[in-house]
C-alpha cells in the first residue's frame, strides 16, 4: 500500500505539470530502485515494489542531484522501467533531497491532453518544489527522522512562485496545506 503522502505528492506533480502519469522512485543502498508511488495509468499492481530493467533518467537524477527535463528521441525507453510504456514523448524527473542526500526521484511523463511540447521551466520549478517535500517524507517511511527544511523556507519558496503565477500554484498550495495540516 503506497504512502498517502507520497501518493498525494505524485498526483499533485502530475496535475500541475499536465503530465499523463508519474511516479516516485527511491534509490536503495546497493543501487536498486524502488517504486514508492504511482499516479496515472500503468504501473505495478503492488507498491512499493522493485524496478527491474532500465530506469532511464532516475539514476542520473539520483546521482547528479539535477533535474532532467527533456523530450526524448522517438522510441527511446527512458522512463523508469516497468512503470509505463517505453518511449515517453516528454519527461521531467527531479531530485527528492533530504539534507545533503538525494533519496528519491519524482518523475512525470507525457501529457494527458496529448501535447508534445517539452515541460516548461515553470513545470521544472513546481515539480522540483514537490520533490523537495517528498524527500523527507521518503526518509520518514524508513523510520529515520529527516533533516527537514524549515517550514518558513518552503513557504518563502512557494510565496515567490505564487507571486509570479498565482493561479498555477494554487493546486500546489492546496496540496501542501492538506499534507502539512
Amino acid at each position: 500500500m503506497p504512502s498517502p503522502t507520497l501518493q498525494a505528492l505524485v498526483e499533485a506533480a502530475v496535475e500541475v505539470s499536465g503530465a499523463d502519469r508519474g511516479w516516485l522512485v527511491a534509490g536503495g543502498r546497493q543501487g536498486d530502485l524502488m517504486a514508492l508511488a504511482v499516479a496515472g495509468p500503468g504501473g505495478p499492481a503492488t507498491l512499493p515494489g522493485p524496478i527491474r530493467g532500465p530506469a532511464g533518467a532516475v539514476p542520473w537524477v539520483l546521482a547528479s542531484g539535477q533535474p532532467a527535463a527533456l523530450r526524448p528521441a522517438a522510441g527511446e525507453a527512458i522512463g523508469a522501467g516497468g512503470l509505463g510504456d517505453a518511449g515517453p514523448s516528454r519527461l521531467l524527473c527531479v531530485p527528492c533531497p533530504a539534507g545533503d542526500d538525494v533519496v528519491a526521484a519524482l518523475e512525470v511523463v507525457d501529457s494527458r491532453d496529448g501535447a508534445t511540447a517539452p515541460f516548461t521551466i515553470d513545470d521544472v520549478e513546481v515539480v522540483t518544489l514537490l520533490g523537495t517535500v517528498a524527500g523527507p517524507a521518503v526518509l520518514e517511511l524508513g523510520g529515520t527522522t529527516p533533516p527537514a527544511r524549515p517550514a518558513a523556507e518552503l513557504a518563502a519558496d512557494l510565496a515567490g512562485l505564487s507571486a509570479a503565477d498565482p493561479a498555477r500554484y494554487a493546486v500546489v498550495a492546496q496540496a501542501l496545506d492538506a499534507l502539512l495540516g
Partner: protein
C-alpha cells in the same frame, strides 16, 4: 604559465567587446574537458571533436576507493553528450575529452566527481565543464581547493548553478564561472549576472542537443546553460592564448548582451554598468537567481 601582461590589441579594458573576444575564433588549439556521464564520441553531431582515446572514467568501488579506467567509454545517460555537443556547436574546432564520473547505471558519488575534476586540472585542460555538483557540505572544502588549483593553473572551470535554491558545490566557488539559464533561443545570447555567485546566464530552455544513441533531444536546465559558457570561453582562449581565468571572465563579461546593450551616458563611453537582463525575461531563471520583482532595478 601565462606570459600575458597586457590584453593583446587593447590599450584599455574599456576596449573589450564581442569583436575582440570572439571574431574569427573557432576553438582551435583549445582542450575542453566534459566532466559528466560520458560522451558518445561517434555521435554524428560531434564530428571528430572528441578524442575518445584520451577519455577517462572514474567510479567509486564497493570498498569506497575511487577507481580510474583510461580510454574510450560510452555515455551512461546522454547528458554528457549533450554538453559536448553544445560546446562543439559554439567552438567547432575545440578538442573535447570526456571525463566520465557517473557509472554505467548512471550512479555517481562526490568522490568520483572530485577525482574527475582533479584529473582534468592536473591534465591542464584549458576549459573544464562540470554540469554536476554535490550538496554534501563535507565535500565543499575539497571542491573549493580543486577549483582554486584550477584557477591558479589557468584552467577555466564552468559549473551549472543548482536548479533549486540549495547549496551545491562547486558552483558557489568564486574561482569558477557558475551559470544558470536565461530564456534566450540564440546560443550566442548570454548575460552577465551582477548578483553572484551565479555570474552568467546562458541558453538552457528547450535546447536541441545531441543525445546518446546518435539521437537528439530537447532539454531544459542550468546544466545545459553551462556548456554554452564553456564553448564561448574556448573561443576566447583560442583567439587569445594564455589568458588567465579572470581575464576570460572579463572578456565574457564585456561580450554579455546586457553589458553590450547597457545604456551609456551622453559623451561618455563606459562598460562599468550593466542593465539587468530583463528585456529577455532572463530574470526568470532557475537556480540561485531570485529577482525581487519581474523587472530588477537598473544598476549603474
Amino acid at each position: 604559465m601565462s606570459q600575458v601582461l597586457r590584453l593583446p590589441g587593447l590599450t584599455a579594458v574599456s576596449g573589450l567587446d564581442p569583436e575582440w573576444a570572439f571574431a574569427g575564433a573557432t576553438g582551435q588549439g583549445v582542450r575542453v574537458a566534459v566532466v559528466d556521464s560520458g560522451v558518445e564520441a561517434g555521435h554524428p553531431s560531434l564530428g571528430s571533436a572528441v578524442d575518445a582515446a584520451a577519455g577517462v572514467a572514474f567510479a567509486v568501488a564497493e570498498g569506497g576507493q575511487v577507481e580510474r579506467r583510461d580510454g574510450p567509454h560510452d555515455d551512461a545517460f546522454g547528458h554528457g553528450t549533450a554538453c559536448a555537443g553544445i560546446v562543439h556547436e559554439l567552438a567547432p574546432e575545440a578538442q573535447i575529452v570526456s571525463v566520465r564520473v557517473l557509472g554505467a547505471d548512471g550512479s555517481g558519488k562526490a568522490a568520483a566527481f572530485l577525482a574527475g575534476l582533479e584529473w582534468a586540472v592536473d591534465a591542464g585542460f584549458d576549459v573544464i565543464n562540470l554540469s554536476l555538483g554535490t550538496r554534501k557540505r563535507d565535500w565543499a572544502l575539497a571542491f573549493y581547493q580543486a577549483c582554486d588549483r584550477a584557477y591558479f593553473a589557468g584552467s577555466f572551470v564552468v559549473t551549472a548553478a543548482n536548479n533549486v535554491l540549495r547549496e551545491s558545490y562547486p558552483s558557489l566557488a568564486g574561482s569558477v564561472a557558475s551559470v544558470a539559464c536565461n530564456l534566450a533561443t540564440d546560443p550566442w545570447r548570454f548575460h552577465w549576472n551582477p548578483e553572484p555567485p551565479t555570474e552568467f546566464l546562458a541558453r538552457g530552455v528547450d535546447v536541441d542537443v545531441a543525445w546518446r544513441g546518435g539521437a537528439r533531444s530537447t532539454v531544459t536546465g542550468n546544466s545545459y546553460a553551462a556548456p554554452h559558457i564553456a564553448g564561448l570561453a574556448a573561443l576566447v582562449l583560442s583567439k587569445h592564448r594564455g589568458l588567465r581565468p579572470f581575464q576570460v571572465k572579463s572578456a565574457l563579461w564585456a561580450a554579455a548582451a546586457n553589458v553590450v546593450e547597457a545604456p551609456v551616458a551622453a559623451g561618455r563611453r563606459t562598460r562599468l554598468g550593466a542593465s539587468p537582463p530583463g528585456r529577455d525575461r532572463a530574470t526568470r531563471v532557475t537556480g540561485l537567481i531570485r529577482p525581487a520583482s519581474p523587472a530588477a532595478p537598473e544598476k549603474r
